[in-house]
């Protein structure tokens, strides 16, 4: 199982802070495709992805119990 976290505009679009996905051994890119199909998300193209609080690339493979966060362009400061 993978935990997926949403923030900012994506959180508002999805309508929830997080969800659990019953998958593993898929890539970040495959997870994105799955979520886009499942939730009709418009804004997953420009987001970065963090796994367990570290930035990763799209080809990172996800393990059971990983926490994936979608990070839209940041605007702190």
């Amino acid at each position: 199982m993978i935990t997926v976290l949403f923030f900012a505009g994506i959180r508002e679009e999805v309508g929830m802070d997080q969800l659990q996905v019953e998958k593993q051994d898929i890539t970040v890119s495959q997870l994105k495709e799955y979520l886009q199909t499942e939730y009709q998300l418009s804004s997953l193209q420009q987001v970065m992805v963090a796994v367990n609080e570290s930035f990763v690339t799209e080809d990172e493979t996800l393990k059971d119990r990983d926490t994936v966060a979608f990070i839209p362009p940041v605007s702190g400061g």
Binding site: F7, A50, E58, V74, S75
Partner: protein
């Protein structure tokens, strides 16, 4: 004493200065990011900051490590506030101490640039006619490498 923090309360600039003050420092610079009323002519009523808190603390701490690599003499503390903020309220404070002033300025400016690149914090603007989550403010819409760079020193 934590040098890198996300807080839900008002930030004390003096507290951050105290965190980096030390006998070998001759210069302390602070950067205070405040909520500005007008951005490109549009009037902001208030702001809301949201953070992926544990990762934001981790990234602030990474910025501290990068500064340590580039300017070994510098000591940095950063606190970013989240939640709803009014005009003139303080969103972020960066304090850097160093024996010499040049380093204190350079490292401080480096810190704010990096915050705007890699720290998972988002700003929602509230205007009279609506709201919007603001994207990347570095005038780059996409990350050419697919993720933010880790900085020269990493």
């Amino acid at each position: 004493m934590e040098l890198f923090e996300i807080t839900h309360s008002p930030i004390s600039v003096e507290a951050l200065i105290n965190k980096v003050s030390r006998r070998e420092a001759g210069a302390i610079t602070t950067f205070i990011g405040t909520v500005r009323e007008f951005t490109k002519g549009k009037k902001t009523l208030s702001l809301e900051y949201q953070a992926y808190e544990p990762m934001a603390v981790k990234m602030l701490s990474q910025i501290g490590d990068e500064i340590q690599q580039k300017w070994p003499d510098a000591l940095t503390a950063i606190t970013h506030r989240v939640g709803k903020l009014d005009i003139t309220e303080v969103a972020v404070v960066i304090a850097v101490s160093s024996p010499h002033r040049k380093t204190a300025y350079e490292a401080n400016e480096y810190a704010i640039e990096r915050i705007k690149q890699i720290v998972p914090i988002w700003k929602k603007e509230f205007w009279e006619d609506g709201t919007k989550w603001i994207g990347d403010q570095l005038e780059t819409v996409e990350y050419p490498e697919g993720k933010p760079s880790k900085g020269e020193s990493m």
